[in-house]
């Protein structure tokens, strides 16, 4: 009940922002929105909803709580950065953008807390609507093209996922589509139907998790959306896709098709890692570059799920830490755009002299995303590699190491170029907002702290999420 009230209240505030007549009103609506988020978060931590009982539509569990906290943190930073980023936009565009960011945050939170397969689907479909508006924010031909592709591919993918959900329901003959109810009878379902359902759901939700095969729309979305919003799309929304797939993965844990599902995840993970690694070399746009890094990292998470055992824990931890790192890098990119008014890799340079804090943030982000200590990704990737070696899958170890080498090379090349290569003559850099660089850096510092020390509460939450 409380979750429904929260969703309703958040949506109302977001809609109210659409009627704002000034920037102060938008700011006020934003403050109110994040106060509601904070109050709901406090209620969650006070144990209000986490009594283990699942509601018909929504329920508070470890996964929902953990990812919700991350979402609110990122969303708050995104809102804060967007205020500067959009300072030159007209009021109509600005209020639409902020209302959509708030609605997207609410829809993602709904997807996190959904205790029912259909509700997860509905919330993910709602995120498509909100994201499309954000992608089209600049009203240019390019953003229109990206928005069209996003809506079209996501809708088709989500329709396929819905077919999978219906098939899962039919195969298990379950009275309800709640995760608990389906999990209880999933073992009795026809293996072939379960496999087909899993394939359809994985394929459909891959557009949200930015995994092979429908990763392209996510990359285009991050490219076209304003950089702060891209931080939300490539972390909060990607996490929603991850959680949706993780919940279906857990449903199948007690069935005879579980081994097959893990193999599919391994293949999808390796393909995503390969695509991410190879396109990191090819792209000439920093936002697309970071998006392919998301594809690569989600590939690693999928491999973690595919390996199973401690790999599941590592996959969840990887996604949690990726949220901090990638949002920090996208927010830093927002500052880069403020300086150069563009993201073209072959033209930008000398950033270390223009904005030292931002450049340090990007270089530190580079080290962390490449999984060098004290990066938390070092821990997760090491755990996944250890599990892979223990499983005797040497071909997978070889593939992963080779592709990770390409990733490291690409990141070093691109980020060092941005910071140190001579700037192009035609560019006339403007002054950077160092305060924004500092605030983006704080997210990266949080990730580095997690690399050195994981709080007991976090470990417990991930233990609960990873328990099959």
């Amino acid at each position: 009940m409380m979750i429904l009230v929260y969703l309703l209240l958040s949506s109302l505030i977001a809609v109210a922002a659409l009627a704002a007549r000034g920037r102060r009103t938008i700011h006020l609506a934003g403050t109110l929105f994040y106060l509601v988020q904070a109050a709901f978060g406090a209620w969650l931590f006070a144990g209000g909803g986490c009594d283990g009982s699942a509601g018909a539509l929504f329920a508070c569990d470890a996964a929902g709580t953990l990812f919700y906290v991350l979402l609110v943190l990122v969303s708050f930073w995104v809102f804060h950065h967007s205020e500067t980023y959009l300072s030159e936009c007209d009021l109509r565009q600005t209020r639409t953008y902020f209302a959509l960011v708030m609605l997207l945050t609410t829809a993602i939170a709904g997807a996190y807390f959904a205790s029912n397969l259909a509700v997860t689907w509905i919330m993910l479909e709602a995120t498509t609507l909100c994201s499309a508006g954000i992608i089209y924010h600049r009203r240019t031909a390019q953003t229109l093209e990206a928005a069209w592709k996003y809506v079209f591919v996501c809708s088709t993918g989500i329709a396929m996922a819905y077919l999978g959900i219906l098939l899962l329901a039919a195969a298990t003959k379950c009275e309800s589509l709640s995760y608990d109810a389906v999990a209880a009878v999933a073992a009795q379902g026809s293996p072939l139907y379960l496999k087909t359902a899993f394939l359809l759901i994985l394929c459909g939700y891959s557009c949200k998790m930015e995994l092979f095969p429908l990763y392209t729309v996510g990359v285009d979305a991050n490219f076209a959306a304003p950089a702060p919003a891209a931080a939300l799309i490539s972390t909060g929304l990607v996490n929603a896709g991850f959680l949706a797939i993780l919940r279906v993965y857990r449903l199948l844990a007690g069935t005879e098709v579980f081994g097959w599902a893990k193999s599919v995840l391994l293949i999808v993970g390796v393909l995503s890692l390969a695509i991410g690694a190879l396109f990191l070399r090819r792209t000439n746009n920093y936002k697309r570059f970071l998006s392919y890094s998301t594809v690569e990292n989600m590939g690693i998470a999928a491999i973690g799920l595919g390996i199973g055992g401690a790999g599941v824990w590592a996959a969840v931890f990887h996604v949690v830490c990726h949220t901090f790192i990638k949002s920090s890098l996208f927010l830093q990119m927002g500052v880069v755009r403020q300086v150069y008014n563009g993201y073209r890799i072959n033209r930008l340079g000398d950033y270390i002299r223009i904005n030292r804090v931002g450049a340090v943030g990007l270089l530190a982000g580079m080290v962390v995303v490449m999984a060098f200590p004290p990066s938390p990704l070092f821990i997760s990737e090491l755990m996944i590699l250890r599990e892979t070696i223990a499983a005797g899958k040497w071909w997978l170890v070889g593939c992963m190491l080779l592709l990770l080498c390409i990733v490291i090379y690409s990141f070093c090349l691109r980020m060092i170029r941005l910071c140190y290569q001579p700037n192009q003559d035609e560019l006339h850099p403007t002054k950077a907002d160092k305060a924004l660089s500092w605030s983006a850096l704080s997210l990266l510092l949080a990730a580095m702290v997690l690399g050195l020390w994981q709080p007991e509460a976090l470990r417990t939450l991930i233990d609960q999420i990873a328990a099959l």
Partner: protein, 209 residues
Amino acid sequence: MILSLVILYVVSLVYLSITERFRNFASIVMLQGWLLFAVAMLRLHAIAPLELLFIALETLLFKAILVPAILFRIIRKTKINRVRTSGTSQFHALLLSLAALGVSISVTYYVADPTVDPVFFGVALYSLLSGLILIVLRSRLFSHLVGFLVIENGVFLFSTAIGVEMPFLINMAILLDILMSVLMLSIFFTKIDGKIHADDADSLTNVKD
């Protein structure tokens, strides 16, 4: 009765693969809307009256009247009448569609299970494949839009065959179905033609690496 409606639905999908005129596309989408309305009424007559009314209104007003009307309006406005002649020939498209039908029947036969209605499962699968074939083979955006609507119709048809949590699931799915389709149609109708002047997917290649 339901079986004959479903067979007619399958025939409409086969015809969709060979026709090249957009007016026929819109007419088929309208026919499918009427068929879905009839199937929903026959299968779901036992559910609560209010919920049945919602589904009836959605299928009749939205799928059978509103969406086809918007499609006809787009055809009039953009003055695009047929798929590009340089695309796949009708014969090859028909072969591919029949192959998809064969695959759907084979898969349905292979995975036959008493828990799932094989007719609805097979037709939904064929609808999904037909929509995807249309999206892949035809280069004009209008065909892609029709492909998406065909996929949505297939999913809706299958959802009427499922008994769980009915009709809540269908209602919610329909609601979002409406939102997404209207959003896509409105983007197509109001934005793409005015801003990009693109009627085929080949023109939408600015966002790439």
